[in-house]
Amino acid sequence: MRLDILREMNRERAARRAVILVTDTADGTQRLVREADAEGDPLAAELAARFRSGKSGIVEADGRSLFLTVQVPPPRLVVIGAVHISQALAPMAQATDLDVTIIDPRTAFATPERFPDVPLLALWPDDALAQLPPLDRYTAVAALTHDPKIDDPALIAALRAECFYVGALGSRKTHGRRVERLEAAGLTSGQIGRIAAPIGLDIGAVSPAEIAVSVLAQVIASLRQDRRRAPA
């Protein structure tokens, strides 16, 4: 691999943009294709399918065996709310290689003492999200504040950006009111239906740490959806 191609791949990854490296397995020659440039490529259809699936693999074209290295942005978890559950969730999510950021405008909650080793933005979600790489299909958002003023803007942004996971803490009743507010904000029922609420897999979680486990498991289940067995 040429060093300039490697540098380009690392830059694109840092900027959370998807690329595919096309390698001729016979002679090792390579070229890099950005998602934005894929449409005019000779391999356009194959590349589009690969960008969607995120899967690397071999494709035969014009008698050549080409290996496609699909590099999609690393999965990221944005947590709204510097609450107890987040204190347990952040280190667990980092241990599963999720890139974690916490957002909470309440400066009493969002302190480095409560969240060592986690990027923390003590800002309202709209302001905080403007400072981060844009929300995308490779990002999960978990809204945990219980406060519509803080959770709702993040949920709306997450649904519009087609985040792979969108979860919101709160009872069914709380969620019912949330659905009404999101409808009023112009979201479709299809979009609103993507919210995991009440949040987390039903493992009977009680403590903040247990709820964090159920949320993280649900995020991973969404991330690895295509690998899961069909329900019996």
Binding site: M1, N10, R13, T25, G28, K55, G57, F67, Q94
Partner: protein, 107 residues
């Protein structure tokens, strides 16, 4: 914590910038039960230092040995490992799968 693709490719760049010879190994094909998915990376420097994995430990030794030659002559190679391989006793995959690995120099 396991090293992610982010760490692996960023480290490959850092190693090159430090003047080290570097080879990149990538799993390009698997059959049967293979321990690491297609696209998994392993990087190796000319001293045999490595980061990442292509098989969860079964064939890394052989890939690292081959990497020294790749760094030396700059020519990419495709290596195949599996239980049917004649070197199975030494570096076969105990899981019964087969994998093909592309090893290339970062130059």
């Amino acid at each position: 914590m396991l090293s992610t693709d982010t760490d692996i490719l960023a480290t490959a760049e850092a190693w090159r910038d430090a003047g080290r010879g570097v080879a990149l190994a990538t799993v390009i094909e698997t059959w049967g039960s293979a321990p690491r998915p297609v696209g998994s990376h392993l990087i190796i420097d000319q001293e045999g230092n490595f980061l990442g994995s292509v098989s969860g430990g079964c064939v890394e030794g052989a890939v690292i040995a081959e990497a020294a030659d790749v760094i030396e002559d700059g020519k990419p190679r495709v290596l195949e490992f599996g239980v049917a391989d004649e070197t199975a006793w030494r570096v076969g995959l105990s899981c019964g799968g087969r994998i093909r690995v592309l090893v290339e120099a970062v130059a």
